[in-house]
Amino acid sequence: MMNELKLSNLLTPKNILLDVKEKEKDALLAKIIKTFSEVNNIADPEALAREVTEREALGNTGIGRGIGFPHAKSSQVDEISVLLARPARPIEYGALDGLPVNLVILIIAPDSGDNNQYLHAMARISRLLGKSEVREKLAQVKTPQEAIDTIAAFEN
């Protein structure tokens, strides 16, 4: 498949949050966007937050099986960037399958970038996190580096 962008290559210990204490979806998304903005030196974090929440309002990004996958295109980034968060407790996310979310991954792509690469990156991540064995391992990791190693092992 073309454009094989790997999630493990996009992750660093700085863009992984484990055991996030926020208890509600909105607060969790706000925390994720704030951290993402800090890690990626986003010039206008409020604009980014607006872009993500406006897209979320047009359709819940809970893709089932306990995964939240907020995403947007933005002029605030130059390349596809991500942030992985694991809430301390499952969070009610309003997903279609009714399951609370244990894992949230934010992906932001440049608004003028390669749309195919963006679609394929999201498809790869969705397939990867759709595997129960990946989610089970990620539920147990104790450090961000362990999370990266776990994802890399399943991607290779």
Binding site: M1, L96, L119, H120, S126, R127
Partner: protein
Amino acid sequence: MKLKNILLYVDSSQESQKALEAALDLSGPETTIIAVNVVNRQTVIQLTRSGEKSVAEAEVELEENGWCYLYNAEEIAKSAGHQIVIIQESGYPEEALPRLAQDYGADIILTGHSTGNSTTGSMVQQLIEHAACAVLVVK
């Protein structure tokens, strides 16, 4: 007729693209499009029959392509200001779609119809028989 939920079957076909366009035409401000891709077991069998791909390889390819079609549909719908959610299932579309339509309270199922494709033709026929709601087949 005001539609609250439209269940849209999404796959690689051109007719699926036309079904998406029809879904957007039928959608009002209160409508949510529920876009579904089904990793079709029948297609997995077809892909593995020649021996070129293992079952795991075929499933990976179909799952990943399916998510691509879904995110593409989502991108188009959201860019036009429509409400859409996406899901992927495994199984047979003719079984999954009527069940999902019932589970999610769909008013109508939209699917493309690939002319000359006997598998799609048979899928559509079974879908119409099993669905409890209206079915619109887009050519």
